[in-house]
Symmetry: C2
Amino acid sequence: MIQNALTRKLESFETLSDLDRSALDTLVDKVRKVGPRVDLIREGDEPESVHLILDGYACRYKVLPDGQREIVAYFVPGDFCDLNVFILDRMDHSIGTITKCQVVDIPRTSIDKITASHPRITRAFWWCGLVDEAVLREWLVNIGARESTERIAHLICELLMRHDAVGLASDNSYAFPFTQGDIADTMGLSVVHVNRVLRELRRMELITIRRRVLTVLDIDGLKAFCRFNPSYLHLENRRWADLRCAARHDRAMQG
Amino acid sequence: MIQNALTRKLESFETLSDLDRSALDTLVDKVRKVGPRVDLIREGDEPESVHLILDGYACRYKVLPDGQREIVAYFVPGDFCDLNVFILDRMDHSIGTITKCQVVDIPRTSIDKITASHPRITRAFWWCGLVDEAVLREWLVNIGARESTERIAHLICELLMRHDAVGLASDNSYAFPFTQGDIADTMGLSVVHVNRVLRELRRMELITIRRRVLTVLDIDGLKAFCRFNPSYLHLENRRWADLRCAARHDRAMQG
DNA sequence: CGACTTATTGATGCACTTCAAGCGACGTGG
DNA sequence: CCACGTCGCTTGAAGTGCATCAATAAGTCG
């Protein structure tokens, strides 16, 4: 069941053989429970393992010399935290939990070993990173080009889509354990202004937040408002990108 | 010599075998010349090939419905433009030249084929993407957390390091073919403000720009001013990350 | 040379920040 | 059980960094 989380994640990108799958089973050591607001790994640490979030919320962030924090990614259940472990001798950023989490640690030596001999698994890991990169690009556009209200609306849309993709949204509602300070550090805004933007989105009857649950009242309205285009998340493409890739791969093998 | 550009790039990440190298040689078709301010590929296109820039400057950008452009990456000679081709059925962004360029096109089917059977090459591609991702994260911090003057100073530092890494900087000078409009669309600022920031950096005697060449007059001053920490570029780590990885890999194979 | 893009500067306006203060929820110790 | 401190949310008032508008100068290219 724990293994399933890993293989399911990777199989959303690439068809794996039974051999691949059994190789993956050896990767998973055991699940670890971590409290809220705890760092899984800190800037400056030598990374020892890749983290897979089974349950709970976490984020990737950097802290500037003046203490200013910038959150550059959110992790929802099913996400890998730091596949980039491979080029980092020391972490150039930190990863911390938002809520309490269940985390699987995969030692980097295991990843080295498995990728050296399993091309499909390597490609699946690669694809994971490519999706992260696509999200990062959209975040850059979001902060650089949209004004504050659309910016936060866009984040809310993204989180809804991502929660929905892993079955964690119902009736356009999802867990929203982030403080307004978290959102501020994500969007490059002040806490005060985030508060006003959320008030505005409530006034427009696009969303409500109650007891750490966010409900989107008017999806079409919200999407239209921030001109949300979900293609960058590459959620639907995966399965058929998979098929398409298999087809191309077969052709390549024949040719 | 053209092939060299490709293998040299990848070998900065991962040691390749002779077999790997000869497989890579078959990838390169021929060099293409492209004029300045021309799109190599546009948002919405079906990607056919991966582009490697041999000479010239290019960028990755997105355009919002209201016409607002946001540049999310710059490419200098030796950079891959779009390894992310694999998860995209249609491009979610465009890639355009800044100056005239010499470009190598590598068909995606070739990449599919080679990665299916050459794990080291796959990992090298993956690593390329991981470095791009690290840069993207720092850009997000830059736009989200630094104010305009430090923000642009930071970009100038990054470009100096990257030019230097491929031997295209001398005496702290490098080609700077970007317009102030380009910089504005990169940093999420207005053209007018970019102009004022550059004036300020000149007044502080940190930089000069003459005839599309940027000279950093006071490197230490400039780095200190924007608190530039080059670790995110992962320039020096590569060679010894390589060795380290090989060692880990050997251990893994033995164990 | 003339047309067009890019750089530069001034004046004005607004989006967002900072400062400040009150409020409710929560946990902890007496 | 209540007192009290802490943390997150909320709102008002004042300040500022950057945008927008506008106009001129300086490249740049056919």
